[in-house]
């Protein structure tokens, strides 16, 4: 009975082929985006407002997520924190994506020594643990969101470069690349106008799952005190701040932690859904 009902729902909403995952992921991510955009109106309190009378208050009707050790409303801080974390996920993905795509495409297309040089550079970057390299760069640049983005771009481009390069290596032997050349198109036009659009599928999907990584990295870096500086509300920082009260006031780090988990899950579902839809096409 319930099985047939589920099937009927799936058919009625046209939810096969990864559409369900796609819509769920989209709903979660869009939900967080909406919350972040409407933060000034949705959040019940000012996220920075300290209230000495209400330190470490348990979740209640007035403060559903409780208050932290400065008496700030955790719910408001989680909602405002979505702004910073979404921005981190977005910018932290876009720069590595652009950098990696350009390097990978040119490296794969030109080949010979340039390709060798790029691949060795990638090997060097990959030889270090991801987080260690990022922390080293951020330690040099100094704490803050700006240096987080720079460190992310400098470390994160390698995966995109490898993905794109392998695609371009196949595509540059393809027939339509030859056809483009036979029309008198320059190498640049052939590469960026014809080969690259065909190579992007894989990395667009990877982008989505990479957003999860970036989000967790951002939270980790903030937790270590190198990313977003207090008192700016950010989920990783909030978890770090609440850590010392984990036994007495569990709500301070639990709710921001849950926020990270849901947004990350949203991006993952989105990635799976997109991958399945694109796989469907080709």
């Amino acid at each position: 009975m319930s099985a047939t009902f589920a099937l009927r729902v799936r058919l009625a909403w046209n939810l096969g082929n990864g559409r369900l995952t796609l819509y769920c992921g989209l709903a979660i991510v869009l939900g967080w985006c909406l919350l972040a955009l409407c933060a000034p109106w949705v959040a019940p309190f000012d996220p920075l407002l300290q209230n000495g009378d209400l330190r470490l208050a348990e979740p209640s009707l007035a403060h559903p997520f409780g208050t932290d050790n400065f008496g700030r409303d955790v719910l408001s801080r989680v909602i405002w924190g979505a702004r910073v974390d979404l921005q981190m996920a977005l910018i932290g993905v876009i720069f590595p994506f652009l950098l990696g795509t350009c390097i990978g495409a040119v490296s794969g297309y030109v080949g010979v020594w340039l390709d060798n040089a790029c691949m060795r550079l990638i090997d060097i970057v990959l030889a270090f643990p991801f987080l260690v390299l990022m922390l080293a760069i951020m330690a040099i640049l100094g704490p803050g969101l700006g240096s987080f983005y720079i460190a992310m771009a400098l470390v994160g481009w390698v995966s995109y470069a490898r993905l794109i390069r392998s695609q371009i290596l196949v595509l540059k032997q393809s027939d339509f690349a030859l056809a483009a050349r036979s029309l008198g198109f320059s190498h640049r036009r052939t590469l960026f106008g014809h080969l690259l659009p065909n190579a992007l599928f894989g990395s667009v999907v990877f982008c989505m799952s990479d957003a999860v990584l970036v989000l967790l990295n951002g939270a980790a870096v903030s937790y270590l005190g190198l990313g977003v500086q207090p008192p700016t509300p950010e989920w990783g920082t909030m978890v770090a701040e609440g850590q010392s009260f984990i036994t007495s006031a569990w709500w301070i780090c639990t709710f921001p932690g849950l926020a990270v988990v849901t947004l990350a899950m949203g991006f993952s579902l989105l990635a799976d859904g997109v991958a399945e839809r694109l796989g469907d096409r080709s």
């Binding site: 339509f176 030859l178 056809a179 050349r181 036979s182 029309l183 008198g184 198109f185 036009r189 659009p197």
Partner: protein
């Protein structure tokens, strides 16, 4: 006789493997007049495609290179041009269409945009003009309802239409010489006939010269004005179509014709030429067809026959040419 549109003299394509050079296409020479269709025939691996890729200077591997005396087209010597000059000529003077239309069109680009891109690049047309021109070219190649088809993607076209679209992409740049590399091999017989008719029509309407690469003698007989036969990287016979079909003089040309099923309708078994072509890295000193040739003489083993004019407009590379049609 006026100077031909395309004049190829001694074009070679050479592969470098390790320390050795292997000549894959050996000193190809031919002329192509305005509005002429030249059929380039030969078995697989005889260097037909490679010769044309060499003509375009678009060789498939970095260890290949082109050598030769001259390739004259529209006042330029293609062998002397640098890459930028060659790029200006590709598409505008020398167009190319291919065997497999589904893989030679960019799958992510609308048909119209693909045609328009070349028009904009070579004629400096605006986006709107190029689109109008693209619709016009699509109409010329016989796509029904080009107004709406111009916005389709390649996967929305059928095989024959894709071939027409590919021809349209090449024609958009308005080339004077079109190299057609087995344009009908991937198509079924009826579509094949339509495409060939289209090519002939375009020749008549635009004065387009063509090099038609094929291993199908039927296709060549229907369309070409002259036929050049290649064997193991060398041109062995070149002459007017009727002459070549009725009185082939090179034993290999004669053998190819005899192999065509239409040559002996009653035969139970198909005729073949026994043996294999020689390996290009281990060529005999003499004629390359010698080991398979029914006419071979001791001289054939010692000396490579050069391509010489046997009669006006008919060139031949053979020590022991046939006198009349058929094998003696």
């Amino acid at each position: 006789m006026t100077t031909p549109l395309l004049q190829v003299r001694g074009l070679s394509v050479i592969a470098r493997t390790g320390q050795r050079d292997i000549t894959l296409v050996d000193r190809l020479s031919f002329d192509l007049g305005e509005g002429e269709i030249l059929g380039l025939v030969g078995e697989s691996g005889s260097g037909k495609t490679l010769a044309c890729r060499g003509l375009m200077r678009l060789l498939p591997a970095p260890n290949l290179r082109v050598e030769g005396q001259s390739v004259r087209l529209a006042g330029h010597d293609l062998l002397q041009l640098d890459e930028a000059g060659m790029r200006r000529l590709r598409g505008r003077e020398l167009g190319m269409i291919f065997q497999n239309p589904s893989s030679h069109l960019d799958p992510l680009m609308r048909i119209g945009e693909q045609i328009a891109e070349g028009i904009r690049l070579h004629q400096g047309a605006s986006r709107r003009e190029a689109r109008a021109e693209a619709i016009e070219v699509l109409r010329q190649v016989g796509i029904p309802d080009p107004q709406s088809r111009v916005d389709n993607y390649p996967h929305e076209f059928s095989g024959g239409m894709r071939q027409r679209a590919m021809i349209a992409v090449a024609l958009g740049c308005n080339p004077r010489v079109l190299i057609a590399d087995e344009p009908t091999t991937a198509l079924d017989v009826t579509v094949q006939a339509q495409i060939l008719r289209l090519l002939l029509e375009l020749r008549d309407r635009r004065g387009l010269s063509m090099i038609l690469i094929s291993h199908d003698l039927g296709v060549v007989a229907q369309t070409c004005d002259s036929i050049a036969v290649m064997y193991a990287g060398r041109l062995c016979e070149h002459g007017a179509k009727h002459e070549m079909l009725a009185r082939p003089r090179h034993p290999y040309s004669a053998g190819l014709l005899a192999c065509h099923p239409a040559a002996q309708p009653e035969a139970v078994r198909m005729t073949t030429i026994a043996g294999q072509p020689p390996l290009l890295d281990d060529l005999p000193a003499g004629c390359r067809f010698e080991s398979r040739c029914p006419q071979a003489m001791p001289l054939c083993r010692q000396q490579l026959p050069e391509l010489l004019e046997a009669s006006p407009g008919h060139r031949l590379a053979c020590h022991t040419p046939l006198l009349a049609g058929g094998l003696s």
